[in-house]
């Protein structure tokens, strides 16, 4: 089969397949009339399409939807629609911002150090090495002297280097540890 024949056969096959036969097809059809190879190629495609149509028709021949189909469709169409997965999750998703906010607030209450907006206490240059920020409860009262407190205090990590507070914390502090310091 020559290149020209192949091209003509391909074009004629497309004309036949898609119903595009018109005046433009005349030269192709004229060629087809005299070229057996092209006729065979086109004939093969026609045979394939016929067999394909037979095969497709065989899939559906003699079949129809059952008479009960409509009754079932009507019943299902009228019954309340089962919520989709998204529909079921929607009420929960609506509460998500509230839950997230509650978790954040709780976290800040439990661990105030996580609060990025908290103003860090600090010791000024002239201050001693520690300062009590908050006193909660005195403990261990012995001979009328409060020996230990639950305190929130700040201190410096290197007392002799200056006045930068490095942390504050709640701790059970012995009075002896606070000697020399200042209370609020």
């Amino acid at each position: 089969m020559t290149v020209r024949c192949e091209r003509i056969a391909r074009e004629v096959i497309e004309f036949f397949r898609f119903g595009d036969l018109d005046a433009r097809s005349a030269p192709h059809l004229a060629h087809l009339a005299v070229c057996i190879d092209c006729r065979e190629a086109v004939g093969l495609d026609r045979t394939l399409v016929m067999q394909l149509q037979r095969a497709l028709a065989a899939r559906v021949d003699g079949h129809a939807a059952s008479p009960g189909a409509w009754i079932e469709i009507r019943r299902r169409a009228l019954e309340p629609e089962a919520p989709t997965l998204l529909g079921r999750l929607l009420p929960v998703l609506r509460l998500a911002p509230v839950g997230a906010t509650a978790i954040v607030v709780l976290a800040l209450l439990v661990a105030p150090n996580l609060n990025p907006f908290r103003v860090q206490p600090h010791l000024a240059a002239g201050e001693p090495t520690w300062r009590i920020l908050e006193e909660v409860e005195a403990m261990d009262v012995a001979d009328g002297v409060q020996a230990r407190w639950w305190l929130r205090y700040i201190t410096v990590s290197a007392p002799h280097t200056g006045a930068v507070a490095t942390f504050d914390r709640w701790e059970l502090v012995s009075t002896s540890a606070l000697v020399g310091g200042h209370s609020r």
Binding site: A65, S66, I73, R74
Partner: protein, 197 residues
């Protein structure tokens, strides 16, 4: 779209069950045939038919009244088919295996074989083995006889794309034909030459 089709959808949208039944009677056959042609299972095809029309009723307010609902129904149907088949279909035999299985029959007498029942059976398997888009294309075009434009609208693609899908589907199926018949055997030859001979 005919006036009765427009009115049918509008009546259905207003909750008229009688209109819904008419809608079903009007469009159920092509939808069922598509489902059956794709699945080859009458029970599954009926389930898909039901799903398709139940969905149509539930989204009736979104259905367009200016165009026929059939392309939409067919599109929903094909989507449902492939979604259901992907869950349950066993791995299909590749086309190359089908050819191998057919080879002994095909080598004998091509002209008879092409017409034979075996060819149709092998084509059935070949159709099953096609990619879904090509399968849908040949079902819409060759089973239903939709025009290229209609088939393209249902498949949600351009006409050129639909042509291309049909072309590739036929090319894949053509491989199933006897080797001697796939391409002309002889070189260039003209009727005049034959007459001379």
């Amino acid at each position: 779209m005919t006036e009765s089709e427009t009115g049918l959808v509008e009546r259905m949208q207003s909750g008229d069950l009688q209109a819904f039944e008419e809608f079903f009677v009007t469009y159920q056959r092509p939808v069922y045939l598509t489902a059956l042609a794709i699945t080859r299972d009458p029970f599954l095809a009926e389930e898909i038919l039901q799903d398709c029309f139940v969905k149509a009723y539930r989204v009736r307010h979104r259905l367009r009244t200016d165009v026929s609902p059939l392309p939409w129904l067919q599109r929903v149907c094909t989507n449902l088919c492939y979604s259901r088949l992907s869950r349950r279909r066993a791995p299909l035999e590749p086309l190359t295996d089908l050819i191998g299985n057919l080879a002994p029959d095909l080598s004998a007498r091509p002209d008879e074989v092409v017409e034979s029942r075996e060819i149709v059976d092998v084509l059935q398997q070949g159709i099953d083995a096609l990619p879904p888009k090509q399968q849908t294309a040949i079902i819409l075009y060759y089973l239903h006889g939709y025009s290229l434009a209609e088939a393209a609208e249902i498949a949600g693609c351009q006409v050129g794309t639909m042509k291309s899908r049909i072309h590739y589907a036929l090319r894949a199926l053509r491989v199933l034909l006897p080797v001697a018949r796939r391409t002309p055997i002889r070189g260039p030859r003209r009727l005049a030459d034959e007459r001379r001979a």
